[in-house]
Symmetry: C2
Subunit: 398 residues, 2 copies
């Protein structure tokens, strides 16, 4: 696979990927899935740590396979002079570099922004880290749960009077992946005006604060300390899960029209004129009275009976699905959100990229590379001869 | 405020914002914060529904104020011929349009992608919706908790043997905001190659699946059904919250070196050579034996005593903060993640945009507009005379 013949929104862009684990790789997975030529640079003989994380499919880590789709792998030992020289030749050909090492690591390898901007002033160089490149914690290590904890995200996730829960998905990492992708693409816009690249600094902790905008805004401007509410919303009611005679469902009411329609759907028309529940603010304030009435009402029928009734009333509602239910949900299937990726003796299924245009859609993702799988091809693109490649391999440079 | 003198990565881009509630406005908040000129188009006399959502600061909704920073407000009644004509004149000047109405609504107003691409073929037109523009659910309404439930996100958030919990932040909406922003900026890259805009379709439900990549990948390729684990990680241990003699903390161990350092920090050196906990896979498998040992160890000291010990061992760790703790955390403060926005008689504080470059950073955000606050200025920019504006206002068009 070369970058010839690639299509996608980002066709023609080349990304050097010095990432590992999750926050960096998820960003470059997206960039590659959107059509960029992503070259993952890995240490010879070792590679990304997550290549060794269980569970495995046909001997390869499922964790690694998922977030390293749409990339090519080049092994390069950046601790050697020859490795650094080759890396700089690669940088000359690139539009973007993404790394998520601890602050200072890239500079110690001679590959910090200042060094590489001198080689290629058009380079957009993005660093994703736990705490950012500045501030008292900037050299500290961080994993997902650390920033979920420090940011207050966990303090508002879970049930009242129970311990805080981690968001089940790795939103500490992936939140940063998404903002880094936005930052990189925004910096490319700037480059289209100025002709110059820049350095993009994204911190996992900062991104959690940004995801928490409403909780932060309410606390700082209304003095309302957000807390854990189970499945509820802090400002809207009802907007939560309810048990039924069998499986739970969720339903939301925002406007007064929706509230009236819910009361009729539940065959509790008197509720619609109950002054305790007259508007959204009243329903939030009187939630302790409201919830048991609704729980009792929903208990009379099964979920399969309730959903068509709620849908007929045009109310936002749905099943509380497991992951197994979700991946076979008719809407998820119809949207092509589960993609199959084959090759190298494996066929695997993953979540796809949730962006559609008339010419870009699901599918077309390529499998994650074996360690160094495209080393020869990429070096040949840089003009390195087969003999020189063999020598580099012998010397442990690639 | 006109677009003259604006700076930021997206300076020079004009965005028409036909969004309301959260999933759309958060996207355009970012675009505006990154330097685009964002014009929020609202119905005269009514405006975005969230202008009425409690709690309020100086009579204005905190919810609205937070996610409508960095925008100008133009009232325009798109149900009138004159309103539609003015809207098309605005579209001629724009690079991007973002809307999050239910599929079909914009087309019924005569402002679907086909109509507007005829006016401005360079327009990137993004629709954010609950379920997307296609598929069996596409006309159904959706709120945050509905897609958190349907996607399986809630099924893996919360404690084992307790009900599923909603992620405390509105990740159902904001996940879609982030992918939509990526899609818009990627489509602008494509436009820079082809000269043509496109239509970007982003669904809240699809985005939840993408955030759940690891859970989906494990289920589909290893048959491992992800479930609720409280504060734990499914693949790494220990990677969770622990009580101490006072306040809880989180700590993570991934490599064997980290594990050895934790055992020594806890003054439990024998654990480091215990074969049950020899590597990451073993520690996950034997978590039921591991957890009580670690709980007991952490109980001997306070959090304030433990954190320096864990930090000295270079272990990822941190306090389990409330939102109040988080906004005054030294790192959060140092990074400038809490921004103050003043004007129109209010001073409010919010989360900022978590993207830093050498020339772009925190601060410089502008307060959310009053309904129609910049109507006259924007119409004047389109060449509408003061007399004509007065007539439009008299006729209820603006």
């Amino acid at each position: 696979m070369s970058d010839e013949g690639r299509s996608g929104l980002l066709a023609g862009l080349r990304v050097i990927d010095c990432t590992h684990m999750l926050a960096g790789p998820y960003c470059t997975w997206m960039l590659g899935g959107l059509g960029a030529d992503v070259i993952k640079v890995e240490m010879p003989g070792r590679g990304d740590f997550t290549r060794g994380v269980a569970p495995f499919l046909d001997g390869q880590s499922i964790y690694f396979l998922s977030v390293n789709r749409n990339k090519r792998s080049l092994t390069l030992n950046l601790k050697t002079e020859q490795g650094r020289a080759l890396f700089r030749r690669l940088v000359e050909t690139a539009d973007v570099l993404v790394e998520n090492n601890r602050p200072g690591v890239m500079a110690r390898l001679g590959q910090g922004y200042a060094e590489l901007a001198a080689v290629n002033p058009r380079l957009v160089y993005a660093s994703v880290s736990g705490f950012g490149q500045t501030g008292p914690y900037h050299t500290k290590p961080a994993f997902d749960v650390v920033v979920q904890a420090l940011s207050g995200m966990m303090s508002i996730t879970g049930e009242p009077d129970r311990p805080p829960a981690r968001v089940g998905a790795s939103i500490g990492d992936i939140g940063a992946s998404l903002f880094a992708t936005v930052g990189i693409l925004a910096a490319l816009q700037e480059r289209s005006r100025t002709g110059r690249g820049t350095y993009v600094d994204v911190a996992m902790l900062d991104c959690q604060l940004a995801l928490l905008e409403n909780a932060v805004a309410r606390f700082l401007n209304a003095g309302d300390l957000p807390r854990r509410l189970g499945s509820r919303h802090p400002l809207i009611a009802p907007f939560q899960a309810f048990p039924t005679s069998d499986e739970p469902l969720v339903v939301c009411v925002d406007t007064e029209e929706q509230w009236a329609r819910l009361c009729h759907a539940l065959e509790r028309p008197a509720l619609a004129t109950d002054p305790r529940f007259a508007d959204g603010t009243a329903r939030v304030q009187n939630h302790a009275a409201l919830e048991p009435i609704l729980i009792e009402a929903f208990r009379c029928r099964s979920r399969k009976e309730w959903l068509p009734i709620l849908e007929a009333a045009d109310l936002p509602c749905g099943a509380l699905n497991s992951i197994a239910d979700a991946v076979r949900d008719p809407q998820v299937v119809s949207r092509g959100m589960i993609v199959e990726v084959s090759g190298d003796g494996t066929t695997a299924r993953f979540s796809g990229i949730p962006i559609r245009t008339p010419t870009y859609g699901p599918g077309g993702e390529t499998r994650a590379p074996r360690l160094g799988e495209q080393t020869d091809a990429i070096l040949a693109e840089l003009g390195v001869s087969p003999d020189a490649i063999a020598a580099l391999r012998r010397d442990g440079v690639v």
